[in-house]
Structures are given as C-alpha cells and as structure tokens.
Chain length 198, copies 4
C-alpha cells in the first residue's frame, strides 16, 4: 500500500546491527570532522574536498556533515582556523625557547630550513588557504590573526618593524625553498636573517 508522501522511506529495519561502532553522542565529532577536512584538503586540494570524502575520512556518516555544518564553506573556514591555531602555536613555542637574540635568529633560521614548521603539508595547506581566503572574507580574518600571532612571537626578540620584515622573509623563503631545485643553504639563510636584523 503506497504512501502518498512517497519521497522518503524509512531506513530498512536495521539488518547489519550497528556497523562499526555505534557513535551516538560523540562530543568530539565536530573537531574530528575538521581534522579530517584538513587531511582531505592536503590530499585532494580544496577542489577535491567533498562532503563524502571528509565524512569517510572522519568515519562519520554523510548526514553528519550537513547536520553539523551549513556547508562545505563552513567546514573549510573552521578547518583552516584550526590549522592557523596549531601552526601559530608551534611557531610561537619555537621562538619562546630562544634565550637571547642570537638564539632567536637561529630559531628563525630553523623555522625556514627545518621541516618542523614549513613542512610540505603545511606549505600546501597554506597555499590552499590563501587561494580560498580571497573568496571567503571570514578567512581573511583568520589569515590576519595568524600573521599577527607570528609577528607577536617575533616581537619577543626583535623590534616591531624587524618582526614584520622577518615574518615576510620567512614566508618568501619558505615558499621558494619548496620550489627551488637547489634550495638555499642554512648558512645563506642565516646570513639573510642577520642582514635584516642588524
């Protein structure tokens, strides 16, 4: 006997008995989705980031995506916010560990040369963020906050103007190192940093 409001039918009586772990009442779900979204962006780019892929990566049902977020833009916006927080925190910690100006310079060199901050993954995610932010005003704010946190970290050791310049230099050198077939040596980078500091 067909129902008149026929578009949706009740889900087939549970036959498979809780696939995987039943995960009702999962307070960390939102955050897990955001982390998964960053993984998907890293692997497929914003262009290839779909609700389905993120849901699969986060191991949540597809319906959870639009239940917790209004759309993919919201997911990406919050995910990039999470990224900025995490990276800025690590950036700040590395600089806080420096005890004097010389160690501070060394820390800056590390941030450029080591793959602790400028990992391929982080670089890639940054590019995706920059491109995405142009079309998503809320993310411009995320980028500004991120930049300000970096500068604040640098101001622990350097004058404000120098901090701004160093921050830009870190950006430029990190990007070019990731492209260059013969990346600059550690010594060269150290020399550049010193020219900017003094």
């Amino acid at each position: 006997m067909p129902t008149a409001v026929g578009r949706f039918r009740p889900p087939a009586v549970r036959e498979i008995a809780l696939r995987g772990t039943r995960r009702r009442y999962d307070p960390e779900r939102r955050t897990r989705i955001l982390r998964a979204a960053l993984d998907v962006v890293a692997e497929h780019g914003v262009a290839g980031t779909t609700h389905r892929r993120v849901a699969a990566t986060a191991d949540v049902p597809l319906g959870s995506m639009t239940y917790h977020f209004t759309g993919m833009d919201e997911v990406l916006t919050e995910a990039f916010g999470l990224l900025a927080d995490r990276v800025a925190t690590r950036f700040t910690e590395r600089l806080a560990a420096a005890a004097n100006p010389d160690e501070a310079c060394e820390a800056v060199v590390d941030l450029i040369v080591d793959e602790s901050w400028a990992t391929p993954r982080n670089m890639l995610l940054s590019y995706e963020l920059y491109a995405f932010a142009v079309r998503n005003p809320p993310l411009r704010r995320v980028m500004q906050d991120w930049m300000e946190k970096s500068r604040a970290a640098l101001r622990q050791h350097f004058a404000p103007d120098t901090a701004k310049v160093l921050d830009a230099m870190i950006e430029g050198l990190s990007i070019h190192r990731s492209v260059d077939v013969e990346p600059m040596s550690r010594a060269e980078v150290r020399s550049v940093v010193e020219r900017l500091v003094h």
Copy 2:
C-alpha cells in the same frame, strides 16, 4: 501532439549559443580557451573551474574543450604556463628599464608596492597555481621556470645570491601586503630592500 504549454525548447543547460556565427577554422581557439580559463580561475577558483564555464567564457562550444584538450588538468597546466609567461615578461621589462643600482632598487620597490605586478588578480592566481602545482608535477616545472626568469631579471642588476634573496623577499612582502590591514609603507619597503642589497 504538442502541449499548450511548452512546445520544444532547447535544453535548459545551454546558454552559450553563438548560433549563426559558426566559427570553424579558428586558429586562436586554443589560446582563447586558455585566457578564458584564467578568467574563470580568477573568478571561481580552480575548484569552480569547469569545462562548461570555460567554454562559455571563451565563447566556444562545449565540445571544443575536450576536442582541443585531454582534460581540465591540461587546460589548467597550459593556462598557468601562459600566466607565468605574461607575468615574468612584465617583471623583466620593469627591471630592464632601470639604468643603475639605485633605479633597480626603486624598480624592486615598485614591483612590491605598485599594483602593477602584485595585483589582487595576480596574487590570487599565484595562490591557485601554488596549490595546484603541488599535485601536478608539470606545473612544478612552470613554477621553477618562472622563478628562474625572475632571478635572471634581478641578476641584471644584483649579484646572484642577492637576486635570490630579493626574489623571495618580493614574494613574502607581496603576500603579506595583500593580507595586512596596515600594509608597510613605501619607505619601509625601500629600507628593507636596501638592507638586503648592501
């Protein structure tokens, strides 16, 4: 037996038209498609760049897309190549116009501060390119060539090491200027350039 309502109408999706003015034997078609692709990327991002939109923007039939290109990746790869050529050429011309080291410094400052090279559109397209290139090896080559052309242009006036550093600085400052709520003044930029040059 036609209905009173609809008769036949062309499919809803088609809006490109062009009907009438057939455009067979159109040697510029490939290039026109590439230019259109850049426009679409600038407006919708790589994520929103589809065959349909590019075809509509280039005013070519949809079938032309897969006739001239194997797929969107090929379109984007060639389009970004075109972008790199155009921008690198303008970059080189600006520096070639400088007659002495001081004018060269001024040219570098211009490239950062003026909106001649670092236009919002170019910045955006760069971000899209960087993100896209991570997943498309052919484009890494495009980026490397672009970087090498920029450095070569700078080597007209500066030592090779300095050229590399200046190029990275231009990159970093351009990006940060596009994000910063209070961008660095021209004088500050000039001062940074001089610190790197001497």
Copy 3:
C-alpha cells in the same frame, strides 16, 4: 582545541527553538499539530509537507511528531478530518439560518459566491484532500462523511434528490469560479440554483 572561527554552535537545521519555555504536559498538542499541518499543506501542498515544517509551525519539538503520530499519513488523515469537520459545520450553520425555501436558495448562492466557504484556502485544501484521498482509503471515508453532512444540511430545506444535485452544483460552480477569469455573476448563480430547485 577550539578554533578561532567557530567555537561550538548548535546544528544548522534547528531554528524552532522554544528553549526555555518547556511545554511538557500539553494536552492540546495533538490538535495544535493538526492545525499546523493544515497551514503547511495550504502553503506548501501535501508534497511539501514535512515533519520538520509542521513541527516548526506548531512550535513543538521535532521528536513530538513521531511520538504522537505514526507517520505523516496519519497526521494528514487526521488533519483533513479536522478540516472536513470545520467546513461542514460552517456549511450547516449557514443553511440552518435560512427560514424558508427562498432564504435557503439565497444561502446556497452565498455559499458559492461569498468567500465565506469557498475561500481560496479551502478550495486549495479540498483539492489536496481529493488527490490525497484517492491513495488513502481512510480519507475516502472522511470525504463521504463530509458529503453526507452537506447533503443533510441541504435536506433541511430541499428534497433528497435535489439536495444531492445542489451539493454537486455547489462543488462544480465553486471550482469553476476559482478558475474562471470572468466568474459567473450572483444573478446567474441564483438562476441556476432555481432551475435545479423547481
């Protein structure tokens, strides 16, 4: 670790709210839901009548819908029953107010011409009911009862056969009046009624 952008927000779908004013022990809830269902049908059609919309309109929690009713079919069936009751009652009252055959004819004309019974809303709901009833046997009974009540009201003043014919005429003229660009005048309707009565 909360992101800078989003913290936690309630799921996007919820807008009903009501928060605060808990409404436990609400004996009128069923009826309120049914009235809301009619409003939703009037606005969106049976096709667009969903649990969510009805719950929102009735200002009850979504869970209330499936708690009080087995499904949308039950909601609609009872809601249309309520409609039939209300409309048949008004119909009966209007006829009961007539004191003699002539006034009875006038009452019939009123029911067709005035927008007291054949309001756009009621006409619309009737169409939805008719369509729905074809596929829902319980509602055929509702329609039959409704028709019988109308005929009984007419039998107060007219012979049984005439009552049946008048009832059908009211139906037909009401529908055509709602479609016609130049609806029949009151005088014409009166003339039709008289031809059927005598």
Copy 4:
C-alpha cells in the same frame, strides 16, 4: 596519480555494452518523459513524483531529466498541459458526434456517467492538477484553456450561459460520483441535465 579537479571522474569505460537499446538521438524523448510523468503522478501523486521514478518509467537515464527540463515543476507543468489537451480533445469529439439537442444531452450524460472521460485516472489527475495549479501560475492558464475548450464544445449545442453551467455541473457530478457510495443513476443525471438545459 590523482587529478586536482577531483570531483568528477570519467564514467567507467563502457563495460556492459549499451544497456538495453542505445537511444541517442531520440526526438520523441521529451514527449515520452511527459507521458511517463503522468503515469507516475497517477500512481504516486505529485508528492511522490520524482525525477528518478519518471526516468525509470520513461526508460531514460536520470540525467535526461534535467537535461530536457529545468526541474520537476517544468515537467509537471508540461505534463498537465498534455493531459488537458488530450482530455479536452476527447471531450470535444464526443460532443461533436451529437447531431441534435437531444443527442447532445445524451452526450453530456455519457461524459458524466460513462467511464470514458471521468475515469478514475482522469479524476485523480484533475485533482492533482487543481492542487498543483494553485501554486503554479502557468498551470492556471492551462486550466483556463481547458475550461474554455470544454465550454466551446458545449456551445456547439447550447447557449453560452447554459454551456458554462453544464460544464460546472459535469465537474461537480463527476467528482461526487467518484466519492459517492451510491452514485446517481443515469436517469437522475439525465433529469438534472434537462433541468439545466430548458
């Protein structure tokens, strides 16, 4: 090697070799979809009429639906237009067959009593149309044209005013016959028609 624009992948290389009959270049497709849509509406109601069900009934791929029509509203609008044409044509033909006023009356009675015009299917589709038309202005026009055609057919034998009344009576009696547990006899209907005609 993942593609950057990853949302859509090419259809799997044809493995099943033209399922059913390959049906490219199918000029009757639109009409076939419309006929199928009426079948689906008759079976599931407008509420249960989905692209999928119509496509399956018409034996066309799902993508054909939105290729040929902008959406379900357009499908329904044209389908109901087709219905109106077909039914009005049959109505007209039946009346055209009458040679004199008496035969014309008999034809009217037939249209009400026989299941030639007022078939359950046609009645149901009419209800769905009426309900749908309230929310779709283009269909009001379809209904008006339909009504006008019916009246024109009746004017072949009756005065304009009488034609209008008869048309409404046909409507009302048809509906009530489809609801009534003891439908009016042929003789009663004949008597009603004569009262309206003279």
